[in-house]
Point group: C2
Chain length 140, copies 2
DNA sequence: TCTAGGGCTTCCACCAACTGGAAGGTCAAG
DNA sequence: CTTGACCTTCCAGTTGGTGGAAGCCCTAGA
């Protein structure tokens, strides 16, 4: 299989597949004309990567997941551990975004959004808040 | 004020402030020894930037917000528009993360996480799913 | 047989928003 | 006079690719 074929199969852009080779996630063979030659196992691995990335796993996580996938004697605990850590990162990120969202929604709500210059959003951004860094410092 | 002072005041690292100068967000003066000299207005602007960035606004958004902030004749509608677009991006991101989270939590739940190699997480990652790109293609 | 087109190759640059570190100038205190 | 805290610039690296240029390779059609 050439890169185009495996790209169609895995749903990944050819560029991305070359990048994955660069970072050592796949190691396709080369045919005499210099073209990459992908085996079934490479195609499979790329699909695995596509799905892992879609779940937000980092490239490093993917590297570890693939190693575990290929290790017949793995302990599922190791996989679960990676997944749980990732889950935690996702939860943190969601919490962070929700907090931003709440503040922002509140400000947007308070803003008339008309031709007049008065704007609670700008007013808020321009105002010191109780829990900011520089106040933490002076509080010590 | 030197950069260290304004860093303490704004809560931003000195490196970040230099970066903001690089991208044209602040324009401190220079004293004869080459040190950056920040006015009150610069410190104020940097604090504004810190709060905007904390709400997730991009540097470009910040540039626009500051321009509006400094424009006495702005229409609050312009500010609200930027904020609403950002709110939408945040909502999209939250939705995406929640979907990841749901899938991942389900898989983590199903995994024993013990010494045995059997792992539903890996099994799922290794399996084609109905709605993947390569199947969309063949379905046409 | 030539040519046009796609597909493939490499390499370099760029994106956001910083962050780390090296090499070196400046300044106030002891 | 030296030490140490600041400050300067510049270069490189981070994450995960994406875009484009220059240039092979291969096949089908005139």
């Amino acid at each position: 299989m050439n890169i185009g074929d495996v790209a169609a199969l895995s749903g990944l852009p050819a560029k991305t597949i070359r990048y994955y080779e660069d970072v050592g996630l796949v190691k396709p063979l080369r045919s005499t004309n210099g073209y990459r030659t992908f085996r079934e196992s490479d195609a499979h691995k790329l699909a695995f990567l596509g799905r892992s990335r879609a779940l937000g796993f980092s490239i490093e996580d993917c590297r570890n997941l693939i190693a575990l996938y290929e290790d017949e004697k793995r302990a599922s605990a190791e996989v679960k551990d990676i997944a749980e850590q990732h889950l935690e990162r996702i939860d943190d990120k969601i919490a962070e975004l929700k907090e931003m969202r709440a503040t922002l929604a509140h400000l947007v709500d308070a803003c008339a959004g008309d031709h007049r210059p008065d704007c609670p959003i700008l007013a808020d951004l321009a105002t010191k808040h109780r829990d900011e860094e520089q106040l933490k410092n002076t509080a010590l």
